[in-house]
Amino acid sequence: MSTIAMGHAGTEAAPAEKKGLWSWITTVDHKRIGILYGVTAFIFFLLGGLEALLIRWQLGAPDKTFLSPEAYNQLFTMHGTTMIFLGVMPLSAMFFNYFIPLQIGARDVAFPRLNAYSYWVFLFGGLVLNASFLFNAAPDMGWFAYANLTSKQFSPGLNVDFWIIGLQILGIASLAAAVNFFVTILNLRAPGMKMMRMPMFVWMSLITQVLLLLAFPIITVALVLLMLDRNFGTHFFVPSGGGDPVLWQHLFWLFGHPEVYILILPAFGVVSEILPVFSRKPLFGYAAMVFSGCFIAFLGFGVWSHHMFSTGLGPMADTVFSLGTMLIAIPTGVKIFNWIGTVWGGSIQYKTPMYFALGFVAMFIIGGLSGVMHASPPADLQQTDSYFIVAHFHYVLFGGSIFALTAGAYYWFPKMTGRMLSEGLGKVHFWLMFIGFNLTFAPMHILGLNGMPRRVYTYSAGMGFEFWNAIETAGSLILGFSFLVFIVNILKSLKSGEVATADPWHGATLEWSIPSPPQEWNFAVEPTVDGRDPLWELRRANGGTLPEPARVSGKGIHLPSPSYWPIVTAFGTAMTLVGFLMHVTLWVILAGLAITMIGIFSWAFEPADH
């Protein structure tokens, strides 16, 4: 691997190390923003987990009154909304932020201040959504908010409004970030890193950004129409005015189905990084992995109505959407085949990230198979609205996304912090999570097929649901406990963990070529790339070892300056939208717009670097 010098000759002082709260508020460093995303999302994730535990406690035995029906509705709605928009998506965004620039050999993302803006808008969106609890008006109509549960007539409180405005704010964060990462991946690749040499995580991230760019505008419009119905008296989804509630379902799932791939494709990417490294073999079928990812994304826009079989769209629509859905099993099967092919015959290193990655493959196969089952409309009509569906999407979202993201956390933690996590505690975490997860969600298949409905706050004794529900609640406690082990592991490691070298796992990609944690400028010299596994090639050329990279002074390296305009603009953006929350509060909207305008102009005319 040859290297090319980059940056001005060193006449300027080295950038000072940045500390303190203000440095975090004004940071435009993709690594710090990644950590902000990670910590914030993990807190929201724990909140969503707590909501789930309350739900499980209520369902642990028949006829419990631990939760009122109203509270139960709020909790399952907020659990779903939180896990999707404030948990899994921003946890993926943590890895996008931290590792896309590192894996493509860049100093930062294409638009560092826009990146900071995305984070702050995300934070404000999450806070607005959860502020609903303070008003005792958390959203309570399910995460997909079917019309006309959401109409003013049936939902007169602020519950739906908090959901609309919260999601609208979060959507802006996602779109801004998607533009940024799309451009970053295409334009900021180091010399020699052709598209077909990019790490698989970067590929899957790129596809995810395309999905975000194309799916989020649809939900934006749907939310606007719903807000207009509630606050301005239009009838887009109100039958008495000629509106069609089913249009909401179409718009929601046109967004919602690509959204499930937005949740799982980054996880595919993470696992495709980990399996080769711990099998000491290159990824099996690289090109097939890329194209199957593209194919999944493409098909993802054409199968939304499989969420609506019970709506009664007619045999033709049902047939088309059913076949399209079954077709997705092909590229997904290709991926699973290739993951197994990667591990097959490898020299497997049984480290914690590998445990979680293998756990992901196994659990995701189960979730994928039940998914193919309800691709068939007659089967779906039996399964829809039952716990079978709850089992299915937890196997793909928890068994899939969360297992993979946890694998990623163990894999990349040394790079992000410079400390190793404990292998012992990591394996305890894995087994507790694996056992707890399966105890919680596997029995839901049985309960669902036996007719236990979703979204109902209790069940009567004698219906045959008691035994498995008790098991599930016990399982959920084990699952919750496993994350306490994870937190202890993180805290212990940060305090006194083993110091990580630059490349503790013998990784293949560029992030392992620089010190752990990386210095602010990432690469003191811009790397050039000759193949798909640049670090393995270097290691081979070097006779099996790699010298530990030295920390350098960074003198003369240009970096974007910190800025507080992103947080100001983000605040203005959120404020403008909050003005539409209750009824139209004009002064809030105008003040929000004014702050946004001031923010944008100050930002545009602020000098971008030192």
Partner: protein
């Protein structure tokens, strides 16, 4: 590759495309879905209004508190003229960009001003049209036609307004002499967005106003 003239913040990109330009194109791609959804919403509810007024045909509607016969809402000549003006503004901004790239200040400022004037005329036309339609009995919540029409064209108008603010910002830069040829990209980005807003109207005009 470290030569003094290349700014360290702007190394040559992997695709050869300018990063900011690629970002605008990406954003435009996303915006296409935004307007596609709004246009779909209009089309889905076309002909589903429970009461008048209607776009192309006479109907019974509520006016000044009583049911009366209402004339069709759309009057094609005015909006055709507005469409033409917006189309020409796209041509003018190309001329302005050409001036900026050549360093021809007069051409730049003249045509950029003309672009802004066209944009303002279009917004003026839309405000007049909305008022006129309102007086003909089409309120925002009167029927599905009114709601979906005002929402679609209103969002388009908001985009035109943002475009005008952007162009005026660039115009002020040009007047202050801060738009030399090497910074012509600052105008090109605004112009790309302006073309997009224009193209969206080229879809809306036939689909909403002409299609019966």
């Amino acid at each position: 590759m470290a030569h003094d003239t290349a700014h360290a913040m702007h190394p040559p990109t992997a695709t050869g495309l300018d990063t900011r330009k690629l970002a605008i194109w990406t954003f435009i791609g996303s915006e296409c879905l935004f307007f596609a959804t709004l246009i779909s919403n209009y089309l889905v509810y076309k002909g589903h209004s429970l009461v008048g007024p209607l776009p192309h045909e006479a109907s019974q509607c509520m006016l000044h508190g009583e049911m009366t016969a209402c004339e069709p809402i759309f009057e094609i000549p005015l909006v055709t003229f507005g469409t033409a003006v917006l189309l020409f503004s796209s041509f003018f901004v190309v001329l302005a960009l050409n001036g900026a790239q050549k360093g021809n200040r007069k051409q730049l400022i003249g045509w950029l001003s003309a672009t802004v004037v066209c944009g303002l005329f279009f917004i003026g036309m839309q405000v007049y049209e909305f008022q006129h339609f309102y007086h003909k009995g089409l309120g925002y919540t009167t029927n599905l036609f009114g709601s979906s029409f005002y929402t679609l064209t209103g969002f388009h108008g908001a985009h035109v307004t943002i475009g005008i603010i952007w162009l005026v910002t660039v115009l002020i830069l040009a007047l202050r002499g801060k738009l030399p040829p090497e910074k012509a990209l600052n105008l090109e980005l605004a112009a790309l967005y302006w073309h997009f807003v224009d193209v969206v109207w080229i879809v809306i005009f036939p689909v909403v106003y002409l299609m019966r």
